[in-house]
């Protein structure tokens, strides 16, 4: 078996004295799309945020592309973390800038100096690479459109292109399709699965819709009250597993 792109073990996190993650451990391999499922408050988003550095875990071990994040700090940690690119539910692009400029911004960790502070000074090579990323997500024809003029689904694809321009090996997607209509959601999920299978990316996506996971994911990880209670092929997500994941939501204190 190949080396995992992302491996997490013994991850723990509390908010205001309430334990939200207990001993979370999983791996995501290159070439697979792993869906994280669970009810609201089950800890699936928190898990992803710990990996992305948006939340500091209390304890645990996170290994990403060969570097152990939990042993690094400062700028080194930030650079090591850029091995994982993130796609957000709220997309988080700059609406007044073109799709191309937004995608180029994904490469900022690689460029430095005063020239990196304005899109005016982005190099030809970088623009060329960004065009490639836009082409990969099917948005090359809208490269010079301001992002604010694109539809939600198109914006999310541009955001995926920005993540690709980061040259990451892991793609973290936090509810990437929750704000999209069913058609756009389907397209973005197809894109994420394609990127895993064809570009050998490791994709971890927090999803709210089990049917999307069943259709597009290779593997699913189910969380309940901050613990992993299911880790298996997406095809094994049957009624009983889902019942267990979602029905007990009312019992949460």
């Amino acid at each position: 078996m190949q080396q995992a792109a992302l491996s997490v073990s013994a991850l723990a996190k509390s908010f205001h004295g309430r334990r939200v993650l207990h001993d979370v451990a999983f791996e995501v391999n290159p070439g697979e799309l792993v869906a994280f499922l669970g009810a609201n408050g089950s800890g699936k988003s928190t898990t992803l945020k710990c990996v992305a550095g948006l939340t500091e875990p209390d304890a645990g071990h996170i290994e990403l592309g060969g570097s152990v994040l939990t042993e690094l700090s400062g700028r080194q940690l930030q650079l090591a973390r850029s091995q994982a690119a993130m796609v957000f539910q709220k997309i988080h692009l700059v609406p007044r800038r073109t799709a191309l400029d937004n995608v180029c911004a994904g490469a900022l960790a690689r460029v430095s100096g005063l020239g990196s502070l304005s899109p005016l000074f982005f190099s030809r090579e970088l623009r060329q690479e960004a065009m490639g990323c836009l082409e990969r997500v099917g948005m090359a024809d809208r490269a010079l459109d301001c992002v604010g003029r694109l539809s939600g689904g198109q914006q999310q694809r541009v955001a995926v292109a920005r993540a690709l321009c980061q040259r990451a090996s892991v793609l973290l997607a936090d509810e990437p399709v929750s704000a999209l209509d069913p058609n756009a959601a389907e397209q973005v999920m197809e894109l994420l699965a394609e990127l895993a299978h064809e570009e050998n990316l490791a994709v971890a996506a927090v999803l709210h819709q089990p049917d999307l996971a069943q259709r597009h994911a290779d593997r699913a990880i189910g969380l309940l009250h901050g613990r992993i209670v299911f880790d298996g092929p997406a095809t094994a997500l049957d009624e009983q597993v889902l019942e267990n994941l979602y029905s007990s939501e009312r019992n949460v204190a």
Binding site: S82, L93, R96, R97, L117
Partner: protein, 291 residues
């Protein structure tokens, strides 16, 4: 309410009478235990406000009868001012030239404060600052520049560079840095943190996050506030003229001192036109930007 209820008379407008009406609750209305203390608070606030106004009236010799008794003085003043003196060589031309100076003072006072205001705004915004100390220090600097009126800055600079428009420009730069920096910092704090956060996870440096994630989001607000400040600064530079910083304010001051009220009226009309034009122009550009 049953359908057979007759319609209300036409002169009673009561939209809710045909809609849903729930039966009154059988539960007792709970007594608010804080009711007495609320009444006490409101009562004492009212007393304090009334007292403050009584002190203020005494302190400012506020007496409307004086205005009624002295109306003739005002009427004489206005009668002297009409008709305005429209002599081109002696009044209108110098007035227009001085107005241009006023406009230039306002322009430079606004644009030359952009670098300092921008720098301080980035440090003084919780979302972009580099360190809590930098945040507090730049907030303090902005507060100082804002608190000292431009006219005081003008009086200080006059002692260094002498009477004239340059002192006015320097004064406006100082005061405007304080005001615009504060407004910009606030508009940065109100904008969406998302893009900045996204670039942070992508490994962008702090400065890159600001120039690619924060600033592009606030450019329209920044330009809008800049135009608003230009508008205000042109008006301020009029007042600065009164303390010797040149421009049309100076001419108005001279006209009053030499009792040439008809000349003064001409200058005031020019000022009025200038302010309306600047106000309309900046409003027009701001509306275009808001789209």
């Amino acid at each position: 309410m049953s359908l057979r209820t007759p319609p209300p008379p036409m002169n009673i407008v009561s939209a809710s009478s045909t809609g849903l009406k729930l039966a009154p609750s059988t539960l007792p209305v709970p007594r608010d235990p804080r009711r007495a203390s609320k009444a006490l608070v409101w009562g004492s606030v009212t007393v304090v406000i009334v007292l403050l106004h009584l002190f203020a009236i005494a302190g400012t010799d506020f007496d409307p009868t004086l205005l009624v008794d002295g109306w003739q003085g005002m009427a004489r003043f206005v009668a002297d001012a009409f008709p305005p003196d429209l002599d081109w060589e002696k009044v209108v031309k110098p007035g227009l030239e001085a107005t241009l100076v006023t406009l230039w003072i306002g322009l430079l006072g606004t644009t030359l404060s952009i670098p300092s205001a921008l720098l301080l705004a980035v440090f003084a915004s919780r979302t972009t600052t580099v360190h809590p100390v930098a945040y507090q220090v730049s907030r303090a600097i902005l507060s100082f520049f804002r608190a000292v009126p431009d006219i005081v800055f003008a009086l200080i600079f006059v002692t260094a560079v002498g009477l004239g428009p340059f002192a006015g420009v320097l004064a406006l730069i100082c005061h405007n840095t304080g005001v615009m920096g504060k407004l910009w910092a606030e508009s940065m704090e109100e904008t969406d943190q998302g893009p900045q956060e996204a670039l942070s996870t992508a490994g962008a440096s702090r400065l890159q996050q600001i120039t690619h994630g924060s600033l592009p989001l606030v450019v329209p607000q920044f330009v809008g506030l800049l135009l608003y400040r230009f508008d205000v600064n042109v008006r301020s530079s009029l007042v600065l003229g009164l303390v010797g910083a040149g421009g049309i304010g100076l001419l108005i001051n001279q006209a009053i001192k030499s009792f040439q009220f008809d000349t003064m009226l001409t200058h005031i009309i020019i000022v009025l036109i200038l302010i309306i034009v600047v106000d309309q122009a900046s409003g027009f550009i701001r509306r275009k930007l808001a789209v």
